[in-house]
Symmetry: C2
Subunit: 159 residues, 2 copies
C-alpha cells in the first residue's frame, strides 16, 4: 500500500526535535529533553549497525521514521523498528516495532497502518525472520489489520 | 537472591558454542550454525554499546549470560538482556529479556528465577526505566514470581 498524495516518509532528523517529542506524547511520558541531547541520540541511532555475516547490506540498529504532511511539513506519525541479532533461527534477526504514535490531527486516515507497513518492509528487507511488538489489548484489532497475530504475553518490571 | 553453591554466572564465551546452542533448543529452532559464525556473532555482541550521555558507564547492547555448574562446567541456563535507547521517558533505556532457556537436567532447582534476577540486575544497573519480556501464557506465573506483572499483548508477523 502506498502513501496517500501529500505525504512522504523519511528517517527522523535533528530538525524534528520539537514535533517528534510532541507527537510521542500521545503514547506516553516524554519528559524534559534538551535539543542537544536529542541530537546526540540521533547520532547514536545513525551510527549503530547490526552485524551481517555476508556484509551484503548495512543493517541499522534503529530505524526511526516519520510520515510527513508535505504541504505544512507537519509530522503526521512516527515509529521505529529496532533490530536484534540472535543465536536462535540460525543467527536470525528479530525486529521490534516500538514507539508508534499518530498525531491526533491525523488520526482516522489510515496513516497508522501505512506507518506499520513501512516499518515491516524495513525489517523484512533486512531479513528478519519475525517482527514483534507489544500493545494494549485495545490495539490488537488494529495490528491484526496490519497482518499481525497474537504471539504471547508482555510482562514488565519497573524501577 | 544468590546462586546456590556449585554454580557461577558469567558472560557467554566462544567456547560455549556447542552447549549454548544445545541449551537453546529447549526454547525454539536453533538450526545449523558454524562455530566461526558463532564467534563473529560474539564479537559483534561484545563490541556493540549503547550511547550514554554522562559517559559514566559502558552500556553493552547485548548481555548474554550463562549459569555454569562448576563441577562439570555444564551450562545450566542461559539468557540475554538487550538494551534499547528511546526518546520517551527522557531518552530512557528499556531492557528486553530474550532467549531464556534452562537445561532440562537442571530444571526445578530455582535456577530460572536466579537467571532472571541476574538479567534484571544488569538492566537496572544500566538505569533502565523498565524491563520487558514476551512469554507464553503458561510461563506468566513463573515471571510473576520473578517480580514481573502483565503489561500487554505480544503481536507478531513472520515471513
Ligand atoms: C507498538 C508500540 O508502539 N508499543 C509501545 C512501546 O513501543 C512503547 O515503548 C510503550 C511505552 O509505554 P511505557 O511508557 O509504559 O514504557 O508503549 C507501547 O507498548
Ligand atoms: C522471555 C523469553 O525467553 N522469551 C522468548 C523470546 O526471547 C524468544 O525470542 C522467543 C523465540 O520464539 P520464536 O522461535 O517463535 O521466535 O521465545 C520466547 O518468546
Amino acid at each position: 500500500m502506498s502513501l496517500p498524495d501529500g505525504f512522504y516518509v523519511r528517517r527522523v532528523e535533528e530538525k524534528d526535535f520539537e514535533q517528534v517529542t510532541e507527537t510521542l506524547k500521545v503514547l506516553t511520558t516524554v519528559g524534559a529533553i534538551a535539543p542537544e541531547s536529542f541530537s546526540k541520540l540521533l547520532k547514536h541511532w545513525n551510527e549503530a549497525t547490526v552485524w551481517d555475516e555476508d556484509n551484503s547490506k548495512r543493517i541499522m540498529q534503529y530505524n526511526p521514521i516519520v510520515i510527513m504532511d508535505k504541504r505544512t511539513e507537519t509530522i503526521a506519525a512516527t515509529g521505529n523498528i529496532f533490530i536484534e541479532r540472535k543465536i536462535i533461527h540460525e543467527l536470525g534477526l528479530c525486529g521490534h516495532i516500538e514507539d508508534i504514535a499518530v498525531n491526533s490531527n491525523y488520526q482516522g486516515q489510515g496513516l497508522g497502518k501505512l506507518l506499520i507497513d513501512q516499518l515491516v518492509a524495513i525489517g523484512f528487507g533486512y531479513g528478519c525472520y519475525k517482527i514483534i511488538l507489544d500493545c494494549d489489548e485495545k490495539n490488537v484489532n488494529f495490528y491484526k489489520k496490519c497482518g499481525f497475530s497474537n504471539a504471547g504475553v508482555e510482562m514488565q518490571i519497573r524501577k
